[in-house]
């Protein structure tokens, strides 16, 4: 069961890393033009980069959980994964955010994908924590 949790974390970490890179406004060629004429990236671009920064350690955590056998190690990995899962949700919704127009890809794809992925990551990590606590022996 723990191996299944680890696989879920690995797969969703890849989703968190890859999807935002293709669904933020910079990828669509859109930027913000300031009064001075200078262009800056829209905030969804920063969200995409932040998700990349979260997805990479999450991938590592999932891989470690797959090969780990010690209860204490798996406990720590589960807790860290749950925390990262929550951050995956918070980045595009409150910490940084995305563009507000409903039809832009950052709003219609990036944000919901991160929310759904984050919820499943957190749920899987918590499930892994519970399963780990109940296991009396670690399977070889």
């Amino acid at each position: 069961m723990l191996k299944i949790v680890a696989v879920i974390l690995i797969v969703l970490a890849l989703v968190v890393i890859i999807v935002p890179q293709f669904t933020n406004c910079s990828a669509d060629g859109r930027v913000l033009k300031l009064e001075s004429g200078k262009t800056v990236p829209m905030k969804c671009t920063w969200s995409a980069r932040a998700e990349l920064a979260l997805g990479i350690p999450l991938l590592a955590l999932g891989a470690l959980m797959f090969v780990s056998r010690r209860k204490e190690t798996i406990r720590a990995l589960s807790i860290l994964s749950a925390i990262l899962g929550i951050l995956v949700i918070l980045i595009p919704t409150s910490i940084i955010g995305v563009c507000m127009a409903a039809d832009m890809s950052c709003n219609s794809i990036l944000k919901p994908t991160m929310i759904v992925s984050g919820i499943i990551i957190t749920a899987a990590a918590l499930a892994g924590l519970v399963i780990n606590e109940r296991t009396t022996e670690i399977p070889a």
């Binding site: 859109r30 033009k33 507000m100 127009a101 409903a102 039809d103 709003n107 219609s108 794809i109 944000k111 919901p112 994908t113 929310i115 759904v116 919820i119 499943i120």
Partner: protein, 397 residues
């Protein structure tokens, strides 16, 4: 130790087969919820959109019915115009209580002139309007002035700005209407006077001017008198006013209704296929499980378990697996439908509105019930058969 707990222990002992049952229940529950939500949500959205317009008859230029419905529901561009004189002619038709004009405009994509791209704009006559005015009366206690607007639930002032800029013209947002699930939620409403002012400003401020010709309108919304027959009034309008097409309220958005019906049939078909395949797979899995446990069940019967005990115990195992898969299925399906709502609307080609909490709970329970019923019924056949066997026959090699 009772038989139900024994059955639950057996579930964890037979991992692969248990997962097959769980996954089948997951798929059935997920598809069932998606089908119910979209079907019901689409109907709700159309109904709410109709109620938002509030008209008994929508009069549009002949041949533009689909275009106008598309603009109202899906936000597709609709440069539709007819002479404003039609308004007077319609007003003179017997049975017409109120006739109010509307003008449909679109904001521009990728332009400095518009702070919100691709917005659907509706200009209305504040003296005769019955779409927005009732809300304004209730919420603000006054009509909109020039330069003021009211928007659907998704209309907003861009962060950092004080107002919405459309074609270089600054509009204040006085409030947001309740959601309908359709493009009316991304529509901005203002008076004709504001539209004319916007048109004039656009000549100087915008790269491409907004043409608002005083003698032209897009549609006329009609409220029929209480004692008049809507269909008869619509026929009279058709005869009195050349080149128009009156759409009566029940037939409004008919083209979308057909599309929704088609989509609903397709989704129900997929659900039926998933259900049948899952059913067959679960029958197979439980037949294999019962074959493996044949001897064990014979021993239980010999030790004193009744046929009913065996049946209840084995079906409780099936129920647990079905419930686990079903709950996961409705959870994931609900999440995806809720957060990807906008994308799904574009993909499906019609809007659907997420129900209120009680409605959602009902549909979730329904989806779960379909999955559970499927699993338990599928498991029943092989389980019943083995519970009826004589103990000695079960224990034979």
């Amino acid at each position: 130790m009772n038989l139900t707990r024994l059955s639950l222990r057996e579930i964890s002992g037979n991992r692969f087969r248990s997962w097959v049952v769980v996954i089948c229940a997951f798929l059935v529950a997920g598809f069932a919820l998606a089908t119910f939500l979209i079907a019901q949500g689409a109907g709700n959205s159309l109904r709410l959109s109709q109620e938002r317009l509030g008209a008994d008859i929508l009069v549009v230029p002949e041949g533009t019915e689909r275009k106008i419905e598309g603009a109202l529901l899906m936000g597709s561009a609709a440069q539709v115009r007819m002479p404003a004189v039609n308004l007077e002619l319609i007003g003179q038709v017997p049975g017409v209580e109120i006739a109010t004009p509307q003008l449909y405009l679109m904001s521009m994509t990728d332009s400095d002139c518009c702070s919100v791209p691709d917005m659907f704009m509706v200009a209305y006559d504040s003296a005769t309007d019955f779409t927005v005015e009732p809300w304004l009366e209730k919420e603000l206690g006054r009509q909109l002035r020039v330069g003021q607007s009211v928007g659907g639930t998704y209309v907003f002032v861009p962060p950092g700005d004080e107002d919405i800029k459309l074609y270089g013209y600054h509009l204040s947002l006085e409030g947001n209407l309740e959601p309908t699930g359709s493009n009316l939620d991304a529509t901005i409403f203002f008076t004709f006077e504001t539209a004319y002012a916007m048109g004039e400003t656009s000549l100087i401020e915008a790269g491409q001017p907004l043409i608002v010709t005083p003698g032209l309108i897009s549609s006329v919304l009609v409220k029929v008198a209480d004692n008049a027959d809507i269909a008869q009034v619509a026929t009279a309008i058709k005869q009195a006013v050349p080149g128009v097409s009156p759409i009566t309220s029940p037939n409004l958005f008919d083209s979308f209704r057909d599309e929704i019906a088609g989509q609903r049939l397709a989704m129900t078909g997929i659900l039926a296929v998933v259900l049948v395949l899952s059913f067959a797979l679960i029958v197979l899995v439980f037949s294999m499980m019962m074959n493996d446990r044949r001897r064990e069940i014979g021993v239980l019967r010999a030790l004193g378990a009744t046929r009913g005990d065996v049946l209840r115990s084995l079906l409780s195992g099936a129920t647990v697996l079905g419930a686990a898969g079903g709950v996961a299925g409705v959870f994931v399906s609900g999440l995806v439908l809720y957060f990807f709502h906008a994308r799904l609307t574009t993909a499906l080609g019609f809007p659907f509105k997420f129900p209120s909490i009680p409605g959602l709970v009902f549909l979730v329970v329904l989806g779960l019930a379909v999955a559970l019923a499927g699993v338990v019924l599928a498991a029943f056949v092989p389980v019943y058969r083995i519970s009826r066997q004589e103990p000695a026959n079960s224990m034979r090699e």
